[in-house]
Subunit: 269 residues, 2 copies
Amino acid sequence: MNAQTKLRKKTEKGLHICVGLDTDINKIPVHLRESKNSLLEFNKAIINATANEAVSYKINFAFYESLGIPGMQTLEETISCIPSDVLIIADAKRGDIGNTSKMYAQSVFDYFKCDSVTLHPYMGYESVEPFLEYEDKISFILGLTSNSSAKDFEKQKLESGEFLYQKVISKTSEWNTRNNCGLVFGATNLEELQNNISSFEDMPILLPGVGAQGGSLEDVVATFESNSKSNFLINVSRALIYCDGSENFEQIVKKTITDYNITIKSLLA
Amino acid sequence: MNAQTKLRKKTEKGLHICVGLDTDINKIPVHLRESKNSLLEFNKAIINATANEAVSYKINFAFYESLGIPGMQTLEETISCIPSDVLIIADAKRGDIGNTSKMYAQSVFDYFKCDSVTLHPYMGYESVEPFLEYEDKISFILGLTSNSSAKDFEKQKLESGEFLYQKVISKTSEWNTRNNCGLVFGATNLEELQNNISSFEDMPILLPGVGAQGGSLEDVVATFESNSKSNFLINVSRALIYCDGSENFEQIVKKTITDYNITIKSLLA
C-alpha cells in the first residue's frame, strides 16, 4: 500500500493523531529501564497501545542516532513492529545537494522502509527532488515550524511581501506534480495556520507542537474543520508517550490517545 | 586538541583542502570492490594518501546512511582511522527544535567523535544552539550553498534589502559568541563570495563545489588571499577521491592533493 493510501484510509476513519516516537531512556517508565533493550520494549508497548488509534508514527531519528549504531538498530527494530497499514514518518529533517539527497532518500525509504520523511527546504528544489522521485512516498517539507526561533528566518518577510515560509509553501505546491508532497506546519502558529490554510491545497499537513510545546489540539482541528479539510496529522510526542510512568502506562497511553480521538471526532462534522 | 586548534595548526601550514569522503561503492577502483569491506579499505587508502596534505576530512553522512547500519559501522571505523590532529567534519546537515538538535549533537560529537558539523539554519537559533554548547567543536551553518537551486530560497531578497543567505551570515556572526561558528559557502558562487567575504569576520568558511560541481580552486584562493583571510577550507570530494581507478590510485590521489596544495601556495603571499 502506498503512503498516500495508508494516510487516506486512516483520515477517512477520522484518525489524525500522529504518535511521535521521541523515545528517551531517561523518560520511559522506571520499571522498563533495566531491561535488555528498554527502548524497544517501550516502543513496542506504545505501538501496541496506539496502533488502532493513530494516523501514523513519526520516528524522530535524532533520538536513536544519539545512541549511535545500537540506537539505529533499535530504530530498525521499532519500524519492523509497526503494522503495515500505518504510515511511518522518518522525522529526519534531511536535505542536501542532489547526489547526496539521493543517498538520504535511499536510507529512509529503501533501507529503513519508511513511508514518508521530513525535509529542510533551505537548499531548494534540487535538495528535495531525489525524495520526490519516490512517487509512493510522502515528503513533508518544513514550512513554518513550531519553535520560537522560527522568527529568525522562516518568518522573515521577502521583498515580494510574502514571508519566507509562504514562499516555501508555494514552491512545495509547485513541486507536488506527483501528489507526494506534504508540509510541516507548527501547531503553535495558530494565526498563521488560519491565514494560510487555503494555500495548502490538497497536500497533507503534519502539525507538531501540540502538547509539550503548547499548541492546542482543539484549535488546530477546528481550523481544519472550518476549512473543510481533513488531510492533517497532529503529532503528539512527549505529552502522549510519557503521559504515565507506572507499570500500567500502556493502558493510560491507550486511554489518552482514545480521548484525543474522541475530542477530535466531536469537533469534526 | 579542540577543533579550533586543529584547524588553525593546519591553515598555518598553508593547508586548505578538505577531503570529502563521499564514498560510493560504484565509484571506487574496481579491484577494491570485491574485498570484505571495500568502502573502509578505500577510505583507509584515501586517508593514508592525504593525511599530511589535508586541512580536514568531511564525511558525508548520507553516503554511509544509504547503506543502513553496516554503512554507519563503516563510518565509525573510518573516523577511527583519521589521525587525531586532523579536523573531522560531520557533513550531516542537521537541524531541529532544541531538544531534538541536542540529540543530533550527541550523535555527531559524543558518539561519532567528530570535531565539527554542518547545520541547516532554516529553523533558527534554537535549532543551532545545542550544537554551539559544544564549545570545542565547530558548527558550520549553511550560508549560500553550491547547488543551482540555492536561488529558490537562499538567494531570495528580503524586505530589508539583504538576501536570505546574508541574513543567515549576520545571524551566525551574532551566534558566534563562543568562537565556534563557521559558514558553508559554495565555491560556485564566486561573485557572492567576493561581495560577502568581509562579512565573514573570523569565522572559518567551508567551501564545497570545487571540482565536479564547477567551482574554481584558483578563484576561491585568490579571493581569500586578496582579502587577507586564511581561515578557509576548500572541499574536494569526487574530483579527488575518484581521480584514478587503477591499482595505483593511492599514489595518484596523493599527487593530486599535493598538486592542489602547490597551486594554493603559489597563490598565497
